[in-house]
């Protein structure tokens, strides 16, 4: 029996921008992630790393012009962003936004309820849910008081990123994409975030780490490392590739 992939991008081409002045960013990207695997995507600025995250999650403004993406054998092309989330795709944002007036607790509950509804599952009971969120918050060094505050409202950079990881652990998706989650983090916060991601990892789910720096990969050890340049994966290897990149830069590849 062959193993079924969790995420499969075949010959993915994508543009960013409106019709008139759109620009091709992804130019034939192939990537397959199997259950239990962690893949890291590295590459120079402007290579298309964040575009990949946005295309996969269905952010408006990005158009797939060729190729296809399967999430757990389901084609993503026709799914709205919230349907992709309901199908098990999670994106930890590079720049988490603030939503004033909507408390974190309310936001998390709305999210959990939407996912439960999509799967015809029962909504979590309020008391158990609050306990679960509190425990998660403490494990990520987030003051439980933050749950009453507006989503990311007045959070420090580190708190915002830890909040993303809290959501990751709470929603427990099939496929997690982390878009430069390490950017702007001090070493303590980086360790907390990495510890959270490692806690998330299991045999059934997948992780796609988008990062600039090898440093994150000291804490989250990837199974595969890919180098993205000009919209294509030009080199793949194991974790040692990241160390090589750290030493030599990208120029020897491009």
């Amino acid at each position: 029996m062959t193993q079924q992939s969790l995420l499969e991008d075949s010959n993915l081409h994508a543009d960013v921008g409106s019709d008139a002045d759109s620009k091709a960013i992804l130019k034939g990207l192939n990537l397959t992630i199997n259950p239990g695997e962690v893949h890291a995507i590295m590459g120079p600025n402007g290579s298309g790393k964040s575009t990949l995250a946005n295309v996969l999650s269905g952010r408006p403004g990005y158009t797939v012009t060729q190729g296809h993406v399967l999430l757990d054998q389901e084609a993503l092309a026709d799914l709205e962003p919230h349907e992709r989330a309901q199908a098990g795709l999670f994106l930890a944002f590079q720049y988490p936004v603030e939503i004033p007036g909507v408390s974190n607790m309310e936001f998390l509950k709305a999210s959990m309820d939407s996912l439960a509804k999509a799967h015809n599952a029962e909504q979590p009971d309020a008391a158990g849910f609050i306990r679960q969120v509190r425990t998660l918050a403490e494990s990520l060094d987030l003051d439980p008081q933050f749950l009453k505050r507006g989503v990311n409202e007045g959070f420090s950079g580190g708190e915002k990123k830890r909040n993303e990881i809290l959501q990751l652990l709470l929603l427990n998706p099939k496929m997690a994409i982390l878009d430069e989650t390490d950017s702007g983090l001090d070493i303590d916060a980086l360790q907390t975030v990495a510890e959270g991601v490692n806690r998330f990892r299991n045999d059934g789910n997948g992780v796609l780490l988008i990062t600039h720096y090898q440093r994150l990969l000291d804490y989250i050890v990837p199974d595969f490392v890919h180098v993205l340049a000009d919209g294509q994966i030009i080199q793949s290897g194991d974790k040692n590739l990241a160390l090589e990149l750290e030493a030599k830069g990208y120029t020897w590849l491009t």
């Binding site: 709205e80 989330a85 936004v97 939503i99 007036g101 709305a110």
Partner: protein, 493 residues
């Protein structure tokens, strides 16, 4: 929970679900306005002569006045001669109004709207819950021009509270009506108030005796049914010294292609140490998405803190009407009196709203708080207009104003017109304002967590309105949120 008017209005979801027409035989005056029409109305209501004269005097004043042109509103001129000024369900024309005599067709209308006309029905829905002390609500219902039923009369009477149609109060408590009618909003206060004074049809009258805490929420429910009629209700609430009352009004109308006029006057009088909390959930038909039809809502609401330490609080959630023109105000005459205004005004499609408040500080140490939230979506236009006036006698007066606008999409407008007049150096006046937009990033962040766009917008808008919803009586806060959700249908996408 017994009173779930708004809930029932919104549960059907997609459309304006209160937009149906009730088929009852009516006694409707032909369109037009002159002294004979006013005499007819007065006669039909069997009014004393002083009131007939009062109306005629108002009519004379009105004829010399012109429509205000200063609001930031655009609509074709209203032809006041094409409106019928009196409409009543025929079966209500005579006889005492006990519930058993109400036309079953009308009762069904209100059942559809979720208004508990039968006291039993009202009680049946009440689960004894100590957390919901106010879950029985006394309701007065105004259908076109007449009040058709008031519930819980006996229980209120036991507490000494008078809650009845104003047409009845004119007969049963003429001394109170004559003393206070027009005492807060004079006949010639403005064009629409003068018109209302001349032709007002019905409305609610409330008197809370000295030291009494009204045992339940009072509520009036307004419904325009008949075509080409205007609704001109008049509400008068008097809270005697040391008393307390919380009052809620709700409004709906059928969907019609023509515009319909609603010009109400509400007067509140709070004597020494009295408190009046007045909440409105206004869901008049807003017109269709192209701006056809809808209610023109020109309303004058004003409260007078007549005695020391009196408090008047207005809370409004305005989602309906094609045109909204209203400025619930407080005159702070008593020393240490308090005025509050909490408002959410949501406009979508082609709706226009010019709304806000006036806080007139006259007494010493008077305080006022204004929190106004405007939400504009579609091609709508929403304006906040507020006046804070500190007169020379109002030493140590304080005002805090917070005025926030939220835009959804890029075809709508939000405007703020604050007026501050301070004639006393010891006053402290604060004004904060903000304008924000529901950003694509916020929407996407919600969607990425599985929340669809419409739910996301309504969650963001509800968050934006939280400070105001907190002020609503408990059972209406949730409903108000749901109402916003429905009013925002189609605002994204």
């Amino acid at each position: 929970m017994s009173q779930s008017s708004v809930d029932d209005l919104v549960e059907a979801g997609r459309e304006y679900s209160a937009g149906f027409v009730t088929d009852v035989e009516t006694d409707t005056l032909p369109p037009g306005l002159n002294e004979d029409v006013i005499r007819f109305i007065s006669q039909r209501k069997d009014e004393p002569e002083w009131l007939t004269e009062w109306r005629l005097n108002a009519f004379q004043q009105w004829q010399a006045m012109t429509e205000p042109k200063w609001p930031h509103l655009h609509y074709p001129e209203v032809d006041f001669q094409s409106i019928s000024y009196y409409s009543a369900p025929k079966s209500q024309a005579d006889g005492p109004r006990s519930l058993d005599e109400v036309d079953p067709e009308l009762l069904r209308t209100y059942e559809k709207l979720g208004i508990p006309l039968h006291e039993q029905a009202a009680l049946a829905g009440v689960v004894p819950d100590p957390d919901q002390p106010s879950s029985n609500v006394a309701v007065d219902v105004v259908f076109d021009s007449v009040s058709i039923a008031t519930t819980f009369k006996q229980k209120l009477a036991d507490a000494g509270v008078i809650f009845c149609p104003i047409s009845e109060a004119v007969k049963t408590h003429p001394e109170l009506v004559q003393k206070y009618l027009g005492s807060v909003v004079p006949q010639r206060d403005n064009f629409y108030a003068a018109l209302n004074s001349a032709v007002f049809s019905d409305g609610s009258f409330v008197y809370i005796p000295k030291g009494v805490r009204c045992p339940m929420e009072l509520s009036t429910y307004f419904r325009i049914n008949e075509r080409n009629t205007g609704q001109f209700e008049r509400t008068l609430i008097i809270a005697d010294a040391g008393s307390h009352v919380s009052y809620l009004e709700g409004c709906t109308a059928p969907m019609r292609d023509e515009n319909q006029l609603h010009a109400a006057v509400v007067e509140l009088v709070a004597l020494e140490d009295a408190e009046i909390k007045y909440s409105t959930v206004q869901n008049w038909y807003p017109g269709d998405e192209n701006g056809k039809g809808g209610i023109y809502n020109f309303v004058t609401k004003r409260g007078l803190c007549a005695g020391a330490r009196a408090k008047i609080s207005w809370t409004q959630v305005e989602t309906g009407s094609a045109i909204t023109w209203k400025y619930p105000s407080v005159v702070l005459r008593g020393d240490d009196s308090i005025g509050e205004f909490y408002s959410v005004a949501l406009t979508n499609n082609r709706q226009q709203a010019d709304t806000g408040t006036k806080m007139i500080h006259m007494g010493k140490n008077t305080r006022s708080t204004i929190v106004a939230k405007g939400i504009s979506a579609g091609r709508s236009d929403s304006s906040y207009r507020g006046l804070v006036r500190i007169t020379p006698t109002a030493s140590q007066a304080r005002n805090f104003t917070q005025c926030d606008s939220l835009l959804i999409g890029d075809l709508c407008g939000a405007h703020t017109f604050p007026y501050i007049e301070s004639k006393n150096n010891s006053a402290i006046i604060e004004h904060e304002a903000s304008t924000s937009k529901v950003s694509d990033d916020q929407l996407f962040a919600c969607q990425q967590r599985g929340i669809d766009a419409e739910k996301a917008v309504s969650m963001i808008v509800n968050g934006f309105c939280k400070e105001v919803f907190r002020e609503l009586p408990m059972e209406f806060a949730v409903e108000a949120g749901k109402l916003l959700e429905v009013s925002l249908e189609g605002a994204v996408g």
